[in-house]
């Protein structure tokens, strides 16, 4: 059930696979090669480690009075419960406003699970419920989550929430319920169908286009090209988690 997390073993297998596939180039006939294009998981194939899903958020385009991404997330993932204490409400994505005390310059940006390459939430989980898919999406397996909330403490981005009440309004594709920890899934149910996350779509529909989603490993993808072009920041880069969500302009 759980994937082996042994880096040396994985590295060896990865190297062997690359060797076998001829550096990511598949032979379709002698002398004729097809460069494999990374894409959404095909039916029956599953998440591929050739893909690393990531997001780039341009804070210069993000408006402080807009929360289209938060609304879209709540509606897509069926987050509709109202709690007596709003501090307990689930936040898969939230808008934060930053202000530099000295210059007074302000930034607005959405903050969510950063989908780390080395996620602390996965390290600390006592039941292996917190896990990272081969394509870099960090998820909670609610079937094994015991709701200890250790991952919530370990996450440097305050990205995870605990479900405090009985739920009945879940979306069929996004099961969630009381007693488990949850966080942004990059809308994995949409990504596996070849769609983009709901927040990214909503940002584009609101004509801000501050969010860009794509495969960081594919040099031809828009996100990889933007990251190669402009200076982007990983929040808390000092932790060396190699996050999948990058910010531009902070």
């Amino acid at each position: 059930m759980t994937e082996p997390n042994d880096k040396s073993r994985r590295g060896f297998l990865g190297a062997a696979a690359v060797g076998a596939a001829g550096l990511g180039v598949a032979a379709i006939a002698p002398g004729l090669h097809l460069i494999e294009v990374s894409q959404a998981s095909a039916p029956g194939k599953g998440a591929s480690s050739k893909v690393r899903w990531g997001m780039l958020i341009d804070t210069t385009k993000c408006a402080s009075d807009c929360n289209a991404c938060v609304k879209a997330c709540n509606s897509e993932n069926g987050i509709s419960e109202v709690l007596k204490d709003p501090r307990q409400a689930s936040q898969w994505i939230r808008k934060i406003d930053l202000k530099d005390a000295k210059s007074g310059i302000t930034h607005s940006l959405p903050m969510m699970c950063q989908h780390c390459e080395h996620p602390p939430c996965v390290d600390v989980c006592p039941t292996h419920a917190s896990m990272k898919r081969a394509d870099g999406i960090v998820l909670v397996d609610r079937h094994t989550c015991i709701g200890c909330r250790y991952c919530m403490l370990a996450c440097p981005y305050k990205a995870r929430s605990f479900v405090h009440m009985t739920l009945t309004e879940q979306n069929p594709e996004v099961p969630r319920g009381q007693g488990c920890v949850e966080s942004c899934t990059f809308c994995v149910h949409r990504v596996d169908k070849g769609q983009i996350p709901a927040c990214v779509e909503a940002c584009a529909n609101a004509e801000h286009n501050a969010m860009l989603f794509g495969d960081l490993n594919d040099p031809n993808s828009a996100i990889a090209q933007r990251i190669a072009e402009v200076k982007t920041t990983q929040v808390r880069a000092d932790l060396k988690l190699n996050v999948g969500v990058r910010y531009q302009g902070i």
């Binding site: 069926g78 903050m111 009381q178």
Partner: protein, 137 residues
């Protein structure tokens, strides 16, 4: 000794009699099959193994991202939800009627949606809540 044997025989007969009346008294669940199409396997196979099919599929789907398998809980609900309530739960619901009869607690629906074609609306979230997490401009 004879009295002891007689006592034991009496007790055993009593137990058999009470079991027989009890078994006759429990009504068999009325499982309504609402969907018109074919299930993914024969009814006997489904009765025996649906939990294994779904259990293995859920791990592959969640952990490996393998989608579009034959067994899926959404597939069950789409076919088997009651036409009147729209759900697989409730007294005559497809899942609940049988699970209540066999006294097997089913936890799926604490997280999964038991209604077919359900669309959640969600609420507007709070803006500007919570402080920055280690991020400084």
């Amino acid at each position: 000794m004879v009295r002891l044997l007689a006592l034991m025989a009496f007790l055993i007969m009593g137990a058999v009699a009470s079991f027989a009346t009890h078994a006759a008294g429990v009504p068999k669940p009325m499982v309504k099959i609402e969907g018109s199409g074919q299930c993914i396997a024969a009814a006997e196979e489904m009765r025996l193994n649906h939990m294994n099919m779904l259990g293995h599929q859920r791990d592959r789907s969640l952990r490996q991202g393998i989608r579009g398998e034959k067994a899926s809980l959404i597939g069950c609900v789409d076919c088997h939800a009651s036409k009147s309530t729209g759900s697989v739960l409730g007294k005559d619901g497809f899942c609940e009627s049988c699970h209540a009869f066999s006294a097997v607690k089913v936890d799926c629906w604490q997280c999964h949606q038991p209604k077919a074609n359900f669309k959640a609306t969600g609420t507007a979230g709070a803006v500007g809540a919570a402080g920055a997490v280690g991020a400084k401009p």
